[in-house]
């Protein structure tokens, strides 16, 4: 019996070996492709099917969503004139060859329905190249612009695999000049530069470093008056009610929220020595994180809340350091030439954005959290203050031009750049703009 079993085992092993070695079915050619040519996904958008929604509303939705997708750099809209067929009902399978001729990779058809004050859009996305449906979604909002942003987010997300960021807002400092006097105020706008509105109006307060809370319901900023500096908290859900945080004496600045919205990290200068603190908004307790004779400033928390990235000149020049949230295990991560400032942890958690000043020029760049793979994405006379988009793919920063002869000051504008450095674009603002902060909330709250 034992002999029979052993013979069978031997036979099986031999067959397996022979099968593995000799089977022609196992023969497959393997070829690796390491190189490619980037081109945006070409999207055809058919005419919006309207049900009780006005023509103007439909046009607005279409123009906003096309503008959003084009601005991303990853999607290119096929011109309407290039389409042989411009109408398509949602339940109809499109004639793919017709859209392929126009050079479309994907197709989006949309229907708009209005009930009361609520607009509802049904979106159908098709892959023209692979001839199959990709997604069908129903989205609703009161404002046509918000609805368009949501539709753009859905298309972007399905085509690229990333979260959309069009339905978000940007806080920034707007500077106005009148009769040789200048004053700064806090303003907020949609991510595409529309819907600008002021949050502060006082001319006696100098506004600096505004930052959104991760849920988008609050914001903090540094307010400088002749008497003192303070960090102020704005509740955006309660008619922008302001509150001065009791953080003690000394210069307080560079505040940011923690990912759980419960506390802030900030820098405080006491008798010339700047250190990093946390302040719990619920318990109102303050805690010191760094104890060092050098200047420690610009703290930013990692998305999991476990680490703090900050700037310190303890090595001689301002460089970027990382420590735990308790202030232990301080490690230097940047070793490049130049002075580093304003480090910000990406919402994805994989990169840190920063400002670098080298040989009199500023640059905004990114690097991995261990300091490797440092890349400068944009350079200029004064390019500074990066802030991440909600999906961690795009950075917004300000770019100040040198002052031309005869002018009072150079123009400062907001710019966006993606992490590859390929798509650099301007966000138009009527006045000088500084210190942008991108909200990380996916849902824009409608008023």
């Amino acid at each position: 019996m034992r002999g029979l079993v052993s013979r069978l085992l031997f036979l099986c092993a031999s067959l397996l070996w022979l099968g593995g070695v000799l089977s022609p079915a196992a023969a497959q050619l393997r070829i690796d492709i390491h190189d490619g040519v980037f081109r945006p996904i070409r999207l055809a958008v058919t005419d919006i099917v309207r049900e009780r929604a006005g023509h103007t509303t439909a046009n607005l939705v279409r123009s906003v969503l096309e503008s959003d997708l084009t601005r991303s750099g990853l999607v290119e809209i096929v011109e309407r004139d290039a389409l042989i067929q411009t109408t398509l009902s949602l339940n109809e399978t499109p004639p793919f060859a017709v859209f392929r001729i126009a050079g479309a990779d994907a197709l989006a058809s949309l229907s708009l329905h209005k009930k009361g004050r609520v607009l509802t859009a049904t979106l159908q996305i098709w892959d023209v190249a692979l001839e199959r449906p990709l997604a069908r979604e129903t989205l609703s909002a009161r404002s046509p612009r918000v609805l368009a942003h949501k539709v753009a987010d859905a298309i972007y997300s399905r085509l690229t695999g990333e979260e959309g960021y069009f339905n978000s807002r940007i806080l920034y400092v707007s500077e106005r000049v009148r009769k040789k006097r200048r004053w700064k105020r806090l303003e907020m706008m949609d991510a595409d530069g529309a819907n600008k509105r002021a949050l502060t109006r006082s001319r006696r307060v100098l506004v600096l470093n505004p930052r959104f809370s991760p849920d988008g319901s609050k914001a903090v900023y540094t307010a400088l008056t002749r008497e003192q500096s303070s960090i102020r908290l704005i509740d955006l859900t309660r008619k922008n009610r302001e509150q001065i945080l009791p953080l003690g004496k000394g210069l307080v600045y560079a505040a940011r929220f923690s990912p759980d919205n419960r506390s802030i990290v900030y820098a405080q200068s006491l008798s010339g020595n700047s250190e990093i603190f946390t302040y719990n908004l619920q318990t109102r307790r303050k805690r010191r994180l760094t104890v060092h004779p050098s200047i420690d400033t610009s703290p930013s928390l990692s998305p999991d809340g476990g680490y703090v990235v900050f700037v310190s000149d303890r090595s001689g020049t301002p460089q970027i350091y990382v420590m735990t949230r308790r202030g232990t295990h301080v490690q230097r991560v940047s070793f490049d030439k130049g002075s580093f400032s304003t480090p910000v942890w990406s919402p994805r958690g994989d990169r840190i954005a920063f400002t670098r000043q080298l040989y009199g020029r500023f640059g905004v760049g990114v690097m991995r959290t261990d300091g490797s793979n440092l890349r400068i994405l944009a350079e200029g006379f004064r390019v500074e203050g990066p802030s991440w988009s909600p999906n961690g793919r795009v950075l917004v920063f300000f770019n100040k031009q040198p002052t031309p002869k005869g002018a009072q000051m150079g123009r400062s504008r907001l710019m966006t750049v993606d992490v590859t450095g390929r798509f650099l674009q301007e966000l138009s603002t009527p006045h000088n703009a500084y210190d942008p902060s991108w909200s990380h909330a996916q849902e824009q709250q409608e008023e």
Partner: protein
């Protein structure tokens, strides 16, 4: 043997044990020798173990060596042609259906491409030989013309050789085989596909966005079927799904269809695993 194995240890004699051990060692030795001899014969015809990735620099080196050897061989063939009478040339060409060396293939290719010119040169040589017989005194002139002619032919040969190389119709002799794709064929295929692949730029964790597609390709090099090998991730990972869809889109692009593969080697590439690897692009 059976008795020996079944008997308890303490009952076996030393001689019996030693003999059995020697026999067992001998069997193992012969078996391993046999396997080592047979294994390469069985493995050799299968392409999966033979296809190698050749770097651009290596490829250029191979091509350089190939160019010089092929040109030298082509020159020799031309000289031989000039020396031989035209009738012999024709008969030799007819009796030689298999082209063994690259130089021969190039020479034949070039002669095939310009049959009218060849006829003209043949008649011209015939007339020349007649003239030579008649005018033996003008040997210096005929020598001069014969010195001039090869330079023109050499130039045309160089051109035809360059064309042949550019079109990769002729593979280097040291790489040519029915069972493998040559470095030139691989490079041509890659260059072609590269133009149609739009990699996922700026996506996080590019090291995880390597997409393997299993292609079924027909005899005319059109992709009949393309399957994403990691189907589970298609459903769970949106970044991977987008990367895989971009890879699939590459193959449906008209500019890349049919694939640039040597049609005579269909058996080799009818089932191909194509790996789209964006790790070296844009930093990760």
């Amino acid at each position: 043997m059976k008795d020996f194995l079944l008997r308890p240890f303490d009952e076996r004699s030393m001689n019996e044990t030693l003999a059995f051990s020697a026999f067992a060692h001998a069997v193992v030795f012969f078996a391993s020798t046999l396997v080592a001899w047979l294994l390469p014969r069985y493995i050799e015809p299968f392409p999966s173990t033979r296809v190698e990735v050749v770097s651009e620099a290596e490829l250029q080196q191979h091509l350089e060596v190939y160019r010089t050897t092929a040109k030298a061989a082509a020159r020799q063939t031309t000289q031989a042609k000039q020396q031989e009478p035209p009738k012999e040339e024709q008969s030799a060409e007819q009796n030689k259906p298999v082209q063994n060396t690259v130089s021969e293939r190039v020479a034949v290719e070039s002669s095939k491409t310009t049959p009218k010119t060849q006829e003209k040169t043949q008649t011209a040589t015939q007339e020349q030989s007649d003239a030579k017989e008649e005018e033996k005194n003008d040997s210096i002139d005929s020598l001069l013309t014969s010195l001039e002619k090869p330079s023109d032919e050499e130039a045309t040969l160089d051109e035809s050789l360059d064309e042949a190389l550019a079109e990769t119709e002729v593979a280097p002799s040291f790489l040519t085989s029915e069972s493998i794709l040559t470095a030139v064929e691989l490079a041509t295929f890659r260059r072609h596909i590269t133009r149609c692949w739009s990699p996922p730029v700026g996506a996080p964790a590019l090291e995880n966005l390597v997409v393997d597609l299993l292609l079924t390709i027909d005899e005319q090099a059109y992709v009949i079927d393309a399957l994403v090998m990691d189907r589970a991730r298609m459903a769970s990972d949106p970044f991977f799904r987008s990367a895989a869809e971009a890879a699939l889109r590459t193959l449906s692009d008209k500019a890349c269809s049919p694939l640039r593969l040597p049609l005579e080697k269909h058996a080799l590439w009818k089932k191909t695993v194509l790996r789209f690897d964006p790790r070296s692009l844009f930093g990760s």
